[in-house]
Symmetry: C2
Subunit: 219 residues, 2 copies
DNA sequence: TAGATTGTTAATCGATTAACAATC
DNA sequence: TAGATTGTTAATCGATTAACAATC
């Protein structure tokens, strides 16, 4: 068990998928799972799962596979999900409101603690249990709660400056819903939620197919 | 200009980012951009941009760079955004409603034509301009409008069966908001919007940092 | 022309997969 | 024990980058 090699980011990004699948297996009452079976569920090769896990230790039993509950606990621990990371949301438009209401976010590992918006019409209003605070309060709230994680759901033109405030205040990880690439200092982690870009990459294939169909017609 | 090599999917996924950045440049009134400058905006190397574009043709001028408007037109054409692909949405909970209201979706390339949900309380209601239709109507609507693209925003347990109906009806590309991996036949394109997984991959790094800080404290 | 930047090739880097000894 | 499956190594595959001749 060498421990020198640090796991590549791409492996880190797959771990949450493994965890999620293991949670479903647990719900189904399945006790053991092989890398083969787990792989089939998430469209990943058995080799890849075993290789990914090998960065963190040895969790399986030859001839048996993995104990679902134990492996899940291990992965959640590796991912830092044994604690709840306090999180803030900036931007409470339609999207921000859907985020506040989305049960998915009330999950292991993260905990929303405050929401911010600069629209005077929204200030003081409650969304779910959270009062909408002005963005001036970002810095004190982030510092008071040691918030390291934030969701940016403001319109594109404001995303960079909001990000700058968050980072300045001490946030280290940002989930960005705005259609922009954020410029952040080294050591700040950013992930994007970008449905339009995802759609636009699929239209490419639809267009290719249509082209092919038209060619066949003409032939 | 060889045309034998087919562009890898990872290149196709970057094209929409290039397009988006070019749109911003156009808004700013910038006429020419080098691969270097474009790369800096989206945190990608100049080499990568030039290599990516080379799969599709020669769009730049030595010594000058790329004509922003022209390159954008080229990329949009490549991505199949010269036409609007009709699209349906299945699932009109908080999330689905936010999607219907999100202006970002009223963009070049895709056009929402119908929304579906099986909640009897919602049937017949309007969300924006769209009446909520029962899922029985998926197949006829998809076939009538030749819909090839769909958004799945139903709860996880229903996502696979909804997907099956969509594919059966003729949909070829799916944007999935449910936290599951869909099983689809070859030649069906799926992209996932998965904020929780994104958060859970960042907590990994936060946890590592915290560990490091604690070690320093002890030292 | 001189300077800048492309398009493309080859080198490098990194990720995935196949294979198998170890072992439950 | 026999069968199954792990963890790990080495081979393969693919993507990124550096470098540079071509050329605007």
């Amino acid at each position: 068990m060498e421990r020198i090699e640090i796991p590549p980011d791409i492996v880190i990004r797959r771990l949450p998928l493994y965890a999620r699948s293991l949670r479903y297996l647990l719900d189904e009452g399945i006790q053991f799972v092989s890398s083969q079976e787990l792989g089939e569920r998430i469209n990943v090769t058995a080799s890849q799962i075993r290789k990914d896990l090998s960065f963190f230790g040895e969790f399986g039993k030859q001839g048996i596979g993995y104990d679902v509950a134990k492996l899940l606990t291990h992965i959640e621990h590796i991912l830092g999900l044994s604690q709840d990371w306090p999180m803030v949301l900036v931007g409470v438009g339609h999207l921000g409101q859907a985020i506040v209401h989305y049960e998915g976010f009330y999950t292991k590992g993260v905990k929303l603690v405050a929401i911010f918006d600069n629209d005077p019409a929204k200030l003081g209003q409650h969304i779910g249990e959270f009062p909408v605070l002005s963005q001036e309060h970002i810095s004190p709230v982030v510092q008071t709660h040691s918030v390291k994680m934030a969701i940016v759901a403001v319109p594109a033109p404001q995303a960079q400056s909001v990000t700058d405030s968050l980072v300045e205040a001490g946030v280290r990880a940002i989930l960005c819903y705005a259609p922009v690439i954020l410029q952040v200092p080294d050591g700040i982690y950013v992930r994007y939620i970008d449905p339009i870009t995802a759609l636009h990459s699929m239209t490419y294939y639809l267009a290719r197919e249509e082209e092919r169909e038209n060619q066949e017609e003409r032939a």
